[in-house]
């Protein structure tokens, strides 16, 4: 005869037995991960020496307040603009084709050296002299390079721009046309369309190169 009952006595584990069991489990765990633990403890030691552990402890303890402070401070300062500029610069660097730009930089360097060597004299600079210079193959080569750069300047690169807003893109959409026609489908497969035309990238580098002097 078993009468309905709701009375349940929870099992009271002997604290000592429980403690023993946990110690045993811990022991097994430690033995299993002996090597990793050694490495971690070594790192932890160094962190302790440099007060890093204390910092982290305090930081985590107050993390909500700290994050709020940082975020609010960031939001009220010029920092977002700095981060934005950094990101932009970083993206631009990614577009530079160093292989192509290297000979150009060497040429410019040579040009700069020559300019530095050039001594202003009272000697008259006449058309004849300039025309004579056109015979010089180095001058002809230099003009050709400059012409290519000029050509690059004229190429549409709107598609790759990161800064110009969507408004302009929609309102002057015909400017996108030529490039998209040929590239749209193909480019869709690329993760992000950051490709700037090489010529434009090179131009962006010129001031940087000049500054090196």
């Amino acid at each position: 005869m078993a009468k309905a009952t709701k009375v349940i006595h929870r099992m009271e584990t002997d604290p000592e037995v429980q403690h023993e069991r946990e110690i045993r489990e811990l022991e097994q765990l430690l033995t299993k991960h002996k090597e990793v633990l050694g490495d971690i403890l070594s790192i932890a030691d160094k962190m302790k020496d440099r007060d890093l552990l204390d910092m982290m402890d305090s930081g985590l303890g107050q993390s909500d307040r700290i994050i709020h402070r940082i975020v609010t401070a960031l939001n009220d300062s010029e920092t977002p603009q700095s981060i934005k500029n950094t990101l932009l610069l970083f993206q631009l660097l990614g577009t530079v084709n160093m292989t192509e730009i290297e000979p150009l930089v060497l040429k410019i360097n040579t040009g700069v050296s020559k300019a530095a060597e050039y001594e202003h004299s009272n000697k008259k600079a006449g058309y004849r002299g300039l025309l004579g210079a056109l015979k010089d193959p180095e001058v002809v080569e230099g003009v050709n390079v400059l012409l290519q750069i000029l050509k690059g300047l004229g190429t549409g690169v709107d598609e790759g721009e990161n800064i110009r807003p969507q408004t302009e893109r929609v309102q002057n959409s015909e400017r996108e046309v030529d490039e998209q026609k040929s590239n749209y489908e193909e480019d869709k497969k690329k993760p992000y369309g950051y490709a700037l035309a090489a010529g434009a990238g090179a131009l962006m580098m010129i001031p940087l190169v000049l500054l090196r002097k």
Binding site: M1, A2, K3, A4, T5, K6, V7, I8, H9, R10, M11, D64, I67, H68, V71, T72, L74, N75, P80, Q81, I83, K84, L87, L88, Q91, E161, N162, I163, R164, P165, Q166, T167, R169, V170, S173, E174, E176, V177, Q180, K181, Y184, E185, D187, K188, P191, Y192, G193, Y194
Partner: protein, 983 residues
């Protein structure tokens, strides 16, 4: 008509299937334009405009464009891109991209992915709020400022779930989604089915379980969130970098959030979906289009009712009775006690003094092992399951007439039927997702719906014809309709000739079922009867759905037989969209019987009395199996009272509250010598046990269920068992081995292999064939061919023919005059049965905290009842105390007492031991009571925040025409055209 059309796509000629929309073709073709409102399960909504392409020089939305012969289609071009950009720009004006700190950033945000795909770097229209606060309740929330007004949620609510709560108010200056007449979620008619949050392409409509939990940076304090978003926006140099960072973060989330496919453990529809978990925490349920039974649909229980898994009330240690108390014990001690008692009793009184009850909530493999333990290890056929309480009569009716006790087709067949007749089934509450298919087919595709019920349930209120036959009289009107059809010459003579036996004998038996007689007995009018007959005659296909309103009567098997007879006479078998659909109530009530938890049948409905079959099992199990059928549940209770049954092992079944006449059942439990109960909670039944074993629910184990469509589906283990609880199959194996069985199953897949090898009905079922969302509908041949349409060429009866089976009406129980009120009873949408699982959800309990009694306005007037009046109902078998609500869902002297309590309002204190004469299924629906008012005034048991007090606003779809008619709307294609024209 030609199947294919010739079109030119981007300059290339190609052949296109005739009936597909342009967007679908483009998707298949790899030239998919961007799109945000289109959803495979919802179709074209035409709200986002992002999928614009050009057809014959005109800009069109590809989602809603049909293809015509010779069309010239262009998907690439600067102008097309420009139009798409305009559309996307408008979308981004409504949605702020703060992906990294967004809980929806899990790789599946469609806005994020589209922006990335289109390489959009900035937007023209700045994002602005909609000047309305976030709407939320305990289930989900809506952030209008993130809503792109795609209308998917509205479409899903209006036309898929067909709850008709959500709208977009296009008349507002800043349109947004509204509930009913622009009220709060909780005060609306919303049933929290979760469709809206499932289909939302972004974080606008989102499960609250995800909030602050999904991302690494999303749990930050509220006051930090806004500045963080502002910084993100300030520093972004175009969306590219934002996307990159958030993609990395989304990938990191994959390490932490586990997505596991499971099958719902509530009703018999068999919804499957992914469960998103973070350790043991359930973040959300994510339905998938490929889910065979439900697609993207869920009900509130399947979507939000999983808190029970981590409930503190879970049993986590075995309990052993000592006197009138329990104490927690170790497994070893509990199992040793079970072994000792089982052996002792078997030795002293023989194996038949033990009995076993399997569960329709457990897996097939567990049901198989339970009956194997009973038959093969203990040596008794005393094994049954809870389908005895509900579905056995339906199965009996089908065995008699068509040979298989299962639904004739799938849920898709019900959806495509010309006519659906629902008899004695509260489908919209008991099988909510299945009901959505009927509601949708009726609303959008002109399906005719006839409902026969005592109560104006949701489907009844939507029906084309709603009839209210007297309680327990369905056999009469069904037979009268059948006779009328035959009298009119509308019977399907060719079908009867080719596929049915005993036609003449049956026809003769119908003689007394005249319209007059039927009208007298049922209270239905002759016109109603004729209309039903005519509707069946006019429909190409009729599907009849029925449930407990038919089966839980003294003549439940006969009434089920009458349904099948009607379908046979009208030729409504052997074709898609037609047939018999007894709606199975539990997730695995079909499987529990399929796998042999029955006193007279092995798995696959093979008789234990069949020597060949028995020999096959004996050989495989190396055991001797008794030749005679054992006791069913009902007989077990009697046998205990008679002193012939001493030991009961019951799992996953709260028999002490769900069996009828529970006073009688509970007193039987008290007489048991030894009672083992295995459950996840300390149920009412556990209170009578000698040993209680802690089991694991579906999320903590692998296995399979069979749903109402006869569909096998796999569930995968989501998390480890809580505490010391264990999966049922492991516990059964442990007990069997202590009894000397020597079983060695290491995974349920091995159990399935063994069961399939012994069972022709599902010989081809294996875990390999059920990977992921793959499923099989029995019968399954050895080569894996399954049978979505149950009867194709013949019936599994002699001669391959079905059989018309004459039936007589069994009059329902009669009560003395003092018991003047009839008590109808059954489920409600939001709680499952007595609520052992669903009350563990605070969200569900908040909306529906307790049981209530529905009384009609007429009765309320007569007896001075109002919402909150507490009454006592007394039947000859017991009494309950419950508070009333007054509603016109019930009529006159009929009451409705849902079963969602295990307390003093539990319906089974009123029910009797009277049962179906053929299957012993309790006649739960034959109850009359007298009523006393205990407290005239009190708090209403149903808060006003319950969806039943809502005010639905039906419309078709999202009303995009209203959007287009707004003065601020110009079709992007027209803008581009104007610009190009101006050039």
């Amino acid at each position: 008509m030609n199947d294919h059309l010739e079109i030119t796509l981007n300059g290339t000629k190609q052949s296109v299937q005739n009936d597909v929309m342009l967007l679908s073709h483009l998707k298949e073709n790899g030239t998919e334009p961007p799109h945000l409102c289109y959803h495979e399960s919802l179709g074209a909504l035409e709200t986002c405009d992002a999928c614009i392409v050009k057809v014959n020089g005109e800009y069109v939305r590809s989602c809603s464009t049909t293809i015509n012969e010779g069309d010239v289609v262009e998907t690439v071009g600067d102008d097309i891109h420009e139009a798409q950009l305009i559309a996307m720009d408008r979308i981004l004006g409504n949605h702020e991209l703060y992906c990294t700190v967004c809980d929806f950033n899990n790789g599946n945000c469609e806005i994020h992915n589209t922006v990335k795909e289109m390489r959009i770097s900035h937007q023209d229209t700045p994002h602005t709020g909609k000047d309305h606060e976030v709407q939320r309740n305990a289930f989900y929330r809506y952030d209008p400022d993130q809503c792109i007004l795609c209308g998917r949620c509205v479409e899903a609510c209006q036309d898929l779930q067909v709850n008709e709560t959500l709208l977009i108010d296009w008349t507002l200056e800043r349109p947004r989604v509204i509930w009913d007449n622009d009220t709060t979620i909780d005060e609306s008619s919303c049933v929290n089915c979760g469709h809206c949050s499932t289909v939302c392409p972004c974080n606008a409509m989102m499960e609250v379980g995800m909030e602050g939990e999904a991302g690494f940076l999303t749990g930050m304090a509220e006051e930090t969130f806004r500045p963080m978003v502002d910084i993100t926006k300030d520093i972004e140099t175009g969306y590219g970098s934002l996307m990159a960072v958030s993609d990395v973060e989304a990938t990191m989330r994959e390490e932490r959030i586990k997505k596991t496919k499971t099958v719902c453990t509530y009703c018999g529809v068999g919804c499957s979906f992914d469960v998103w978990t973070k350790d043991r925490e359930i973040l959300k349920i994510e339905p998938q289009e490929e889910a065979p039974a439900n697609g993207i649909s869920t009900c509130v229980k399947g979507k939000f009712g999983w808190d029970f898994v981590n409930s503190e009330e879970r049993l986590t240690k075995p309990l052993i009775r000592e006197g009138d108390e329990f104490r927690e014990a170790e497994w070893e001690e509990a199992l040793y006690l079970i072994e000792k008692k089982f052996k002792e009793n078997r030795r002293e009184k023989g194996p038949d003094s033990l009995a076993f009850i399997s569960s329709s909530k457990c897996t097939n493999e567990e049901s198989y092992l339970m009956q194997k333990l009973a038959r093969g290890v203990i040596g008794t056929n005393n094994i049954d399951n809870c389908s005895r309480y509900c579905q056995s009569p339906a199965t009996m009716g089908l065995w008699r007439t068509v040979g298989y006790g299962g639904d004739s087709g799938g849920i898709g067949d019900i959806a495509q039927a010309d006519l659906v007749i629902s008899v004695g089934s509260n489908t919209a509450e008991s099988h909510p997702v299945l009901a959505t298919r009927v509601k949708r087919a009726q609303k959008l595709h002109g399906q005719k719906v006839i409902v026969a019920d005592l109560r104006e349930n949701e489907l009844a209120s939507r029906a084309d014809l709603f009839v209210r036959p007297a309680p327990g009289s369905d056999l009469v009107w069904l037979s009268a309709v059948t006779k009328y059809i035959i009298d009119q010459g509308w019977d399907d003579k060719a079908f009867l000739r080719d596929h049915v036996n005993d036609v003449d004998e049956y026809m003769a038996s119908l003689e007394k079922y005249t319209l007059e007689y039927a009208s007298d007995i049922t209270g239905m009018t002759k016109e109603e009867l004729i209309e039903i007959a005519t509707s069946i005659h006019e429909a190409r296909t009729t599907s009849i759905l029925w449930a407990m309103g038919i089966t839980q009567h003294g003549g439940g098997s006969d009434a089920s037989t009458a349904i099948s007879n009607l379908l046979l006479v009208t030729g409504n078998y052997m074709k898609p969209g037609a047939g018999a659909y007894p709606l199975r109530g539990h997730n695995n009530v079909q499987g529990a019987s399929d796998f042999g938890s029955m006193p007279d049948r092995f798995p696959g409905y093979q008789f234990v009395t069949d020597d060949d079959v028995r020999a096959r099992f004996e050989e495989n199990w190396s055991a001797e199996i008794p030749t005679e059928p054992g006791l069913n549940n009902h007989e077990m209770v009697d046998a205990i009272h008679e002193g012939n049954l001493d030991v009961l092992y019951l799992k996953g079944e709260d028999m002490g509250i769900v069996d009828s006449n529970i006073n009688y059942v509970q007193s039987a439990f008290e007489k048991l010598k030894f009672f083992v109960v295995q459950d996840i909670f300390f149920s009412k039944t556990c209170q009578y046990a000698d040993v209680v074993l802690p089991a694991s629910p579906s999320l903590e184990k692998d296995g399979t269920f069979v749903n109402t469509e006869r569909r096998f589906q796999r569930l995968y283990k989501v998390m480890d068992p809580l505490g010391q609880s264990r999966p049922d199959w492991e516990i059964i194996q442990e007990i069997a081995n202590r009894m000397g069985a020597g079983w060695d199953y290491s995974h349920p897949g091995e159990i399935m292999d063994e069961a399939a090898s012994l069972t022709p009905l599902f010989a081809g079922v294996s875990y390999d064939r059920l990977e992921g969302y793959d499923s099989l509908q029995w019968p399954v041949a050895e080569d894996g061919t399954d049978t979505p349409l149950l009867f194709e060429k013949e019936f599994p009866l002699p001669g391959g023919k079905a059989q018309l089976w004459p039936v007589e009406w069994t009059k329902p129980l009669e009560f003395e005059d003092q018991y003047d009120l009839h008590v109808n009873n059954g489920r409600i949408l939001e709680h499952f049965h007595e609520g052992n699982m669903t009350y563990k959800s605070d969200a569900i309990t908040g909306k529906t905290p307790e049981v209530f009694l529905e009384v009609s306005p007429q009765l309320a007037g007569e007896r001075k009842l109002e919402d909150g009046t507490k009454v006592r109902l007394t039947s000859p078998y017991g009494s309950v105390k419950v508070s009333c609500i007054v509603t016109d869902r019930v009529f006159g002297k009929q009451l409705y007492l849902p079963m969602n309590t295990a307390g003093e309002g539990a319906i089974n204190y009123l029910t009797s031991s009277h049962s179906d004469k053929d299957t012993d299924t309790p006649a739960y629906k034959e109850v009359s009571v007298k009523m006393e008012v205990l407290e005239p005034k009190g708090k209403s048991p149903l808060p006003k925040t319950n969806h039943r007090y809502g005010n639905p606003q039906p419309q078709i779809g999202v009303n995009v025409e209203e959007k287009w008619a707004r003065p601020d709307y110009i079709f992007p294609g027209d803008i581009v055209k104007a610009r190009r024209g101006d050039k």
